[in-house]
């Protein structure tokens, strides 16, 4: 990796760890391996959102051309959000694409992602199914997102109605996450989810 990239990443790594936000456990970053090419980020779900209390793991890959090109970031933890793919964890955020500036840092990226969790952009979606639910059935979206935070991101309490429906599909031999995806994308209509899974 180019000298400047390593220099920058080392410095930013320290910046994140020493930051006020890290003290409050809002953001964190860890090394994966020892060459600073790949990092593991962590952000806490912002308060007053369906992600409150959750912790999301991020895969951060630093390109050769860093910081002139943005780092490649995606969610490792499964999340239900209009701008994040519920399947791959790919993120649609301008600063990770054409609005990246060489003076931006890991800390700004993590904080921007946290802000994205609090303020989704459903008109610029990464996951069309989620975005549709966000716009057309917002209360169901909030419940679904909260339930995903419970199942995948360590939030203790979750909707028991949803849990029952997931178990119902699990009894039919469907994997837990597969059942969750099918039900979430069918607005928790069990019959439609079954049709989608078995057709």
């Amino acid at each position: 990796m180019a000298n400047i990239a390593i220099q920058r990443i080392k410095r930013e790594f320290k910046e994140v760890i020493k930051s006020d936000e890290a003290q409050k456990c809002a953001i964190n970053v860890e090394l994966v391996g020892d060459d600073y090419r790949e990092l593991r980020g962590e952000i806490a779900g912002p308060p007053d959102t369906p992600y409150e209390g959750a912790t999301f793991q991020l895969e951060i890959k630093v390109p050769e051309t860093y910081p002139f090109n943005p780092p490649k970031v995606k969610f490792v933890t499964k999340i239900w959000h209009p701008n994040i793919s519920s399947v791959t964890g790919a993120i649609c955020l301008d600063i990770l694409k054409d609005q990246w500036a060489a003076a931006m840092t890991l800390r700004t990226v993590l904080l921007s992602l946290q802000a994205l969790l609090a303020a989704a952009e459903p008109d610029d979606p990464q996951d069309a199914v989620v975005a549709k639910q966000f716009k057309e059935n917002h209360s169901l979206f909030l419940q679904t997102a909260q339930y995903w935070s419970h199942v995948h991101a360590g939030v203790p309490k979750g909707n028991s109605e949803f849990a029952k429906k997931v178990r119902c599909l699990q009894d039919m031999g469907v994997g837990e996450h597969q059942a969750l995806v099918a039900l979430s994308s069918c607005n928790w209509d069990v019959d439609r989810a079954i049709e989608q899974l078995f057709s």
Partner: protein, 481 residues
């Protein structure tokens, strides 16, 4: 074969354009001075090389740079951002120069000029990118005042250029959209290969932002076409002969406009599955039911077995296709459709689409088949000349006729998307009437060309004149771009 033997008189005509012969109503000289005045497709364009385009762009840059007193590099950026509209820039600049410069991202919005980060101590500036300290002489900054070391700028430029970005390179600070002008970028590029690439990409960007210029879409063609106005008119590249629409850069599509043809092509691509069955190349003779393969462009078919003359499109008797009754091109809507069920309406909509699609597709196929006809004409001409029947020049008119046929059929093909989207009413009736007339004459011409041995030259030239007149009439009435 006497019909083909040219008299001396005929030979004289063959030296001049047949238009002149029939165009007696013009004053001889006028005909050459305003040859295109009556042609609705006439479009004044120039095919330029990169050097000529560069000269043209530089003239604009110089003019603007002189009239508002900015560096040529800034003038170029301004022109690029304002689509080369000098009048707008000059007027705006005189009114409020800050607003113009800010909206072109030449300067930052007034309030956000960066505070000098290492302001108090000039010797100790830290580059926010490499985090190293920079000596004052190694600082590079744009009008926004964000300071970075020149090495970081260079590296950033090289990364951006590698990704094909040139005129769009921005300042490296967060949320700063000030653009780096050419005279800032180029001196900081260390390797000549990057300078070259930067110039090349920037040149494409400038041409693309210029409403009067368009790259020829022909493969590996470097010609840039210049037109006074950006209109949906036909351009034929002088270098590679590619024919395209100036406005959208796609295949030429008169009388249909750019949006409609785009909608049509998308629709055809989407609905291709339903329309696929149409691609069958064979149909049965409506009289003796012999399977017939269409091997020429002409829709006037004759069964080789029973000699029945019929229309390939509607399979009706060709006799009813005499120009007065020719209605094969017209789609007859079910007058009671509003009262039918949704299902029936959907079926009707599909039927209507297929009617136009079949004809559009059929003419496209005919155009290809007629290319083969052209090869056959060449071979036949050669045989004739070898056998002593006339000279090459005597047979030249057949090639002219084939070229005219291709041009007319191309227009006819493009009348179908136009008609599909045209609302019912007297205008559509008139259009479909003219379309039917054109189609009938084109099929006549195609029939005559394929069998040129049995017709005489005068007849064919007469037919050519009729077809071109029909085409011009239709375009004059309906080509509105």
């Amino acid at each position: 074969m006497a019909a083909y033997k040219m008299s001396d008189d005929d030979m004289e005509y063959s030296d001049t354009d047949y238009d002149d012969y029939y165009g007696n109503d013009y004053e001889g000289d006028m005909d050459h001075m305003v040859p295109m005045k009556n042609d609705p497709e006439y479009f004044d364009v120039a095919c330029l090389t990169d050097t000529e385009v560069e000269r043209l762009l530089n003239e604009s840059v110089e003019q603007l740079s002189n009239s508002i007193q900015v560096t040529p590099s800034l003038a170029k950026l301004l022109l690029h951002m304002y689509n080369w509209n000098q009048v707008e820039i000059v007027a705006g600049y005189r009114q409020d120069c800050h607003r113009i410069l800010a909206s072109a991202h030449v300067k930052p919005p007034q309030s956000t000029t960066a505070k000098d980060p290492g302001g108090e101590n000039e010797g100790e500036i830290i580059c926010p990118v490499c985090l190293g300290t920079i000596a004052p002489e190694a600082v590079g900054q744009l009008t926004c005042g964000h300071k970075f070391c020149k090495d970081c700028w260079s590296m950033n430029f090289e990364v951006q250029i590698t990704q094909g970005i040139s005129t769009g390179i921005e300042c490296m600070a967060n949320n700063c959209q000030v653009l780096a002008p050419e005279d800032f970028v180029v001196p900081l590029l260390k390797r000549p290969v990057f300078k070259e690439k930067y110039q090349q990409y920037a040149f494409s960007d400038y041409v693309r932002s210029h409403p009067q210029l368009r790259f020829c879409p022909g493969p590996n063609c470097n010609i840039v076409v210049q037109a006074k106005e950006c209109r949906a008119k036909r351009v034929i590249c002088t270098a590679c002969k590619t024919q395209f629409c100036f406005k959208c850069g796609g295949s030429y599509h008169a009388p249909t406009d750019c949006e409609t043809i785009k909608r049509w092509l998308t629709k055809c691509a989407d609905d291709s599955e339903t329309a696929n069955y149409i691609s069958a190349h064979t149909k049965d003779c409506p009289k003796c039911h012999l399977c017939i393969e269409k091997n020429g462009g002409c829709n006037h078919m004759q069964c080789w077995k029973c000699k029945y003359d019929f229309c390939w499109m509607c399979l009706g008797c060709w006799k009813t296709h005499g120009s007065e009754y020719y209605e094969c091109s017209r789609y007859k809507e079910n007058p009671n459709i509003a009262h039918e069920s949704a299902h029936a309406q959907a079926r009707e909509a599909l039927k209507k689409y297929l009617h136009y699609y079949e004809r559009w597709e059929n003419h496209s196929k005919s155009l290809k088949l007629e290319e083969e006809t052209l090869a056959k004409i060449r071979a036949r001409t050669q045989n004739k000349v070898m056998a002593g029947t006339g000279t090459w020049i005597d047979w030249q008119y057949l090639l002219d006729a084939a070229a005219l046929l291709a041009r007319c059929r191309y227009t006819l093909q493009n009348t179908y998307p136009f008609a599909y989207y045209l609302e019912s009413g007297p205008r559509k009736d008139l259009f479909e009437y003219q379309q039917a007339q054109l189609e009938a004459e084109i099929e006549n011409l195609s029939w005559k060309i394929e069998r040129a041995e049995m017709t005489d030259r005068g007849d064919l030239e007469n037919q050519m004149d009729v077809v071109e007149k029909r085409r011009t009439t239709l375009l004059t009435d309906f080509l509105q771009v």
